[in-house]
Symmetry: C2
Subunit: 215 residues, 2 copies
């Protein structure tokens, strides 16, 4: 009796989930997809995994930590969507026309993801201590590149094709990114909700045109 002796119930449940970490992550992704970052609540994720709340703490240090993992996944999905759009345009085409098409594809993919997977998109930018839009494999698409790097590559291509003066190349990704990101945010956050879905698309085109011309 020197040992602790305060048992209660036998607990005949499964134990050993198999891959709980993955299950929790996927539950978290599903929650984020449906309701954005605030919707990824730890207890609900464990519930969906068929496990008691605290079990999560064996795999994630905190809710914030889980959310971070979900965000990584969201970032990766964003990159994949962008890659898909690029592929659709025909990746190999070089020359000025190809470079422009590529840049447009990057922007279009970004916007498509924001409008289609709003919850994940919001989650991808959920604030606390960001860090990481780059080549971290966890947050990259199939090509191994993250969203930011896909954009960078598109701009490099434009510079090589001569559509973008070399002296304006450095930092240009921030400008382009700002425009597209801002448009996406304004649409999903409401300010442009009065505008019809069709017009949204048209304005999106103009945003990208502004970038091409204004860089």
């Amino acid at each position: 009796m020197t040992r602790k002796l305060r048992s209660k119930a036998p607990a005949r449940t499964t134990y050993r989930h198999g891959d709980l970490r993955r299950a929790l992550l996927e539950a978290g992704i599903a929650l984020a997809r449906a309701g954005g970052p605030d919707a990824v609540v730890l207890r609900e994720a464990t519930r969906r995994a068929g496990v008691v709340p605290n079990a999560a703490y064996r795999h994630f240090a905190s809710r914030q930590d889980l959310l971070e993992a979900v965000r990584s996944a969201a970032l990766s999905e964003l990159a994949k969507t962008m890659e898909a759009e690029i592929a659709l345009v025909g990746r190999g085409k070089s020359g000025e026309a190809g470079a422009r098409a590529n840049l447009r594809a990057v922007g279009a993919g970004y916007l498509r993801f924001a409008l289609t997977e709003t919850g994940l998109f919001r989650t991808a930018f959920a604030t606390p201590e960001f860090r990481g839009f780059t080549g971290d494999p966890a947050r990259a698409g199939d090509s191994g590149l993250g969203p930011f790097e896909l954009l960078s590559a598109a701009l490099d291509q434009m510079a090589q094709a001569g559509s973008l003066p070399a002296e304006r190349r450095p930092g240009a990704e921030f400008l382009a990114w700002s425009a597209v990101h801002g448009f996406a945010m304004l649409v999903i956050d409401g300010p442009l909700h009065t505008v019809s879905r069709g017009d949204i698309h048209a304005i999106g085109e103009r945003v990208i045109a502004m970038v091409e011309k204004g860089l």
Copy 2:
């Protein structure tokens, strides 16, 4: 005894706060200023107002309702900051140079607010059912105009001055707004956190230049 008879304690506190609604709103604003939308928690606001949690429900239907009021105030502060920046540049100046200066002031004010009052800025765009960037006096600055309308006015001025072709005027505010808003978001949400504060300012300038040229 037909009446309810289940009293408990005399309760000798103040009662009749004076203007609780205002106190709660201001507490909410302070919380949002310090920590963004998630930080405006109802119980804390009532605590700061020196009142029991439920008292809030006499003035706000829910936490969401309080948050909405705070957002209105944040929007109004944004408009004020923009107005201040416009005034600084010298409002009256017309002509092409004046129009450009005005547009720049609008953008600069927007960015200043985003970087200075990050919590309020985030709160101003806290999602659920947006609606209202326009002339609602509650969310306008001293001039009675909201942020969106200040931008619109600046673009009108540019069109009149001939710096912006008339056929490109319609919808131009969405393009300009997107660029500036996106830049602000990227800065405060982290992706550009690696960039130094000084460079941020420089890039902000380039964003506005891109807008001027790309519209």
